[in-house]
């Protein structure tokens, strides 16, 4: 059978991806620009015997997610920046309790109420400190509807595999832009959870899922265990690169911004400019080692231009990844001010011309 092709918004692609990934419970609270996700789930989940419930706040929504996850559901929530801040206590608990779930953040401008246009301002929040304590989760940043569909579906498998939340970090451009999506069946694994979920202590000892460890040695051990898990997640690192080895400049960008940058880079390469492209798809764990290798690929010192729709966040991870083997430049656009690919080309040409442009 031919795969079905439909015209959808990015947020709808995410919802279809969730259904393909086996999502059977959704809890959320309305916030622009992601309302199509709960709207679609409220129609589709009941049809499939699943659960949809609109909570009274993001705080309640994430805790309903916690409950459903503890009893073995494939569960998700979605929100946008301010709502994600409200959920962050819940993220910390989910990580600590080792409960899998999928969280979608369709980023909008901040800080505060900000705006409803595109932003990548929640990068640090997602990859550095999703909640209090030392917790981390896998963060995927799709840049097309097809990728949003595939990564969201895969996120459910990986959440179960690591018994940890997984975040899909999207933004208002990808979320609200329409493009064709191929609804192809994906091979998403079902992972057995019978050995840890709470489903009543029938013919087995009672189980406790907890995050309180008053004994400091026990708590330290717990943290070491979680840290090992975060290291294991490095197996899931994904990225896209356009690079042959002798480029002077490497443009680094993620999500919607990477799509604009890629077009600019491809145009320049066609004209013979020595410009490469690197797009982290997993933002946590960050593809540090690959970036380091890129910086070391030839004797010539390279320049890493990091384009972001915020005031410069991922640039810090790029700089620390290359350990001084190249120069790092931050090109940032505060939320809502979108550049055209030509503007990006101009920035790159400027950097090629002046080796003394400001560095990070």
């Amino acid at each position: 059978m031919k795969d079905k092709r439909i015209l959808v918004k990015g947020v709808e692609a995410i919802a279809f991806g969730a259904l393909e990934g086996g999502c059977n419970c959704y809890f959320g609270y309305p916030i622009t620009p992601q309302n199509e996700i709960p709207e679609l789930m409220s129609v589709e989940l009941p049809k499939r015997g699943g659960v949809f419930l609109q909570a009274e706040s993001e705080t309640s929504a994430i805790n309903m997610v916690l409950g459903a996850s503890a009893v073995g559901a494939r569960v998700m929530t979605s929100s946008s920046s301010p709502g994600i801040s409200l959920m962050s206590e819940g993220f910390s608990y989910l990580i600590a309790l080792e409960l899998p779930c999928v969280i979608v953040n369709v980023m909008r401008g901040g800080p505060g109420l900000g705006g409803i246009e595109a932003s990548q301002g929640d990068y640090f929040q997602a990859v550095k400190a999703p909640g209090h304590g030392d917790g981390k989760f896998l963060v995927f940043a799709p840049y097309s509807c097809d990728e949003a569909y595939e990564l969201t579906a895969k996120a459910f498998e990986l959440a179960d595999k690591y018994r940890n939340p997984v975040m899909i970090l999207s933004d208002a451009i990808l979320g609200q832009m329409k493009e064709p999506l191929t609804l192809k069946p994906l091979k998403i694994k079902r992972i057995k959870k019978d050995d840890w979920i709470l489903n009543g202590a029938k013919d087995r000892p009672a189980r406790v899922i907890k995050s309180l460890f008053l004994d400091s040695a026990e708590l330290a051990e717990r943290n070491r265990k979680l840290k090992k898990k975060y290291q294991m997640m490095e197996k899931e690192i994904r990225y896209e690169k356009i690079f042959e080895g002798n480029e002077d400049i490497i443009v680094v960008s993620f999500g919607s911004m990477a799509r604009l940058c890629k077009e600019a880079v491809l145009n320049l390469r066609e004209k013979g400019y020595p410009v490469g492209f690197f797009r982290p798809i997993t933002l946590y764990p960050f593809p540090r080692f690959t970036l380091f290798k890129l910086a070391e690929a030839s004797q010539r010192k390279k320049r890493f231009m990091v384009f972001e729709l915020n005031c410069g966040q991922m640039v810090e991870d790029v700089a620390s990844s290359i350990c001084g083997r190249g120069d790092t430049y931050s090109v940032f656009y505060p939320p809502s001010i979108l550049p055209f690919p030509e503007d990006i080309e101009k920035e790159i040409k400027k950097c090629l011309k002046y080796s003394n442009s400001p560095k990070v």
Partner: protein, 250 residues
């Protein structure tokens, strides 16, 4: 010789960590007796909330998850919606249920979630050292109302059983105490009914149990137990809503 008294099967043989004169242990025991008598152990899931009773799992031998502070009714909602065959109960203090978790509690009640919520009301934040709680009574001294609760400053005590009785989603709602043997027996009956409401899918069931906090009330065990009678003048005992109607005998 016939056995006339034994520990409930669902009660673990651990020594309670609660202070002398605290009523948590009485309620724990009653809860275990009800779990045993209704044969719920193999499908019960409990929510341990933040407060002195967050160590619920040291004593009660059923599946238990720790909920973030105030969120038990939301966590329970997620569980019950995902697996309606489970019997889900929360065990919360007055701070957890009626202060930080008020929104979660009221909305779960309003939706008529088929869960059983227990609120242990001792009028203070016990674990953190006796601060003002929403149920602190007027003139009561706490570590954050050193001159006593002044309604002009801290407002009035929140009466949750009365509030919830007005909710259409609530199937059963009562307040009780365990400071006399008679009330202990009565509490067990009400507790059983709160679970039956869930088993019959009637909606949200709520039982508020007046309890002591001798240390933070600065009383000995006996005076604290007697002091609960004073609380009853402000928080009257009784069944505030009961959808069982005529079949209320257990």
């Amino acid at each position: 010789m016939p056995e006339v008294f034994k520990l409930p099967k669902s009660l673990k043989k651990n020594i309670f960590h609660y202070c002398p004169g605290c009523h948590h242990s009485i309620v724990h025991r009653l809860l275990c007796e009800v779990i045993d008598e209704l044969n719920l152990r193999d499908r019960a899931v409990g929510l341990a909330s933040i407060g002195c009773a967050c160590f619920l799992y040291f004593y009660i031998d059923v599946d238990i998850v720790e909920a973030p502070h105030g969120r038990s009714c939301s966590v329970a909602t997620g569980m019950k919606r995902a697996r309606p065959e489970l019997v889900v109960f929360t065990y919360q203090g007055d701070g957890d249920f009626a202060a930080i978790g008020l929104g979660d509690s009221l909305h779960a009640a309003s939706r008529g979630e088929s869960i059983t919520a227990l609120m242990i009301n001792n009028t203070v934040y016990g674990m953190t050292g006796g601060q003002l709680s929403p149920t602190t009574v007027l003139q009561q001294k706490t570590t954050t109302t050193p001159l006593g609760r002044d309604p002009k400053r801290e407002g009035f005590p929140l009466k949750m059983a009365e509030v919830l009785s007005n909710f259409e989603g609530v199937a059963f709602c009562a307040r009780t105490a365990v400071n006399t043997p008679k009330r202990v027996i009565e509490t067990k009956k009400l507790l059983k009914k709160a679970f039956l409401a869930q088993l019959e899918n009637r909606g949200f069931s709520y039982l508020e149990i007046l309890s002591t906090c001798p240390v933070n009330w600065k009383m000995d065990a006996l005076s604290a137990t007697k002091h609960v009678d004073k609380l009853i003048e402000i928080f009257p005992l009784g069944v505030f809503k009961d959808t069982f109607g005529g079949n209320s005998e257990i």
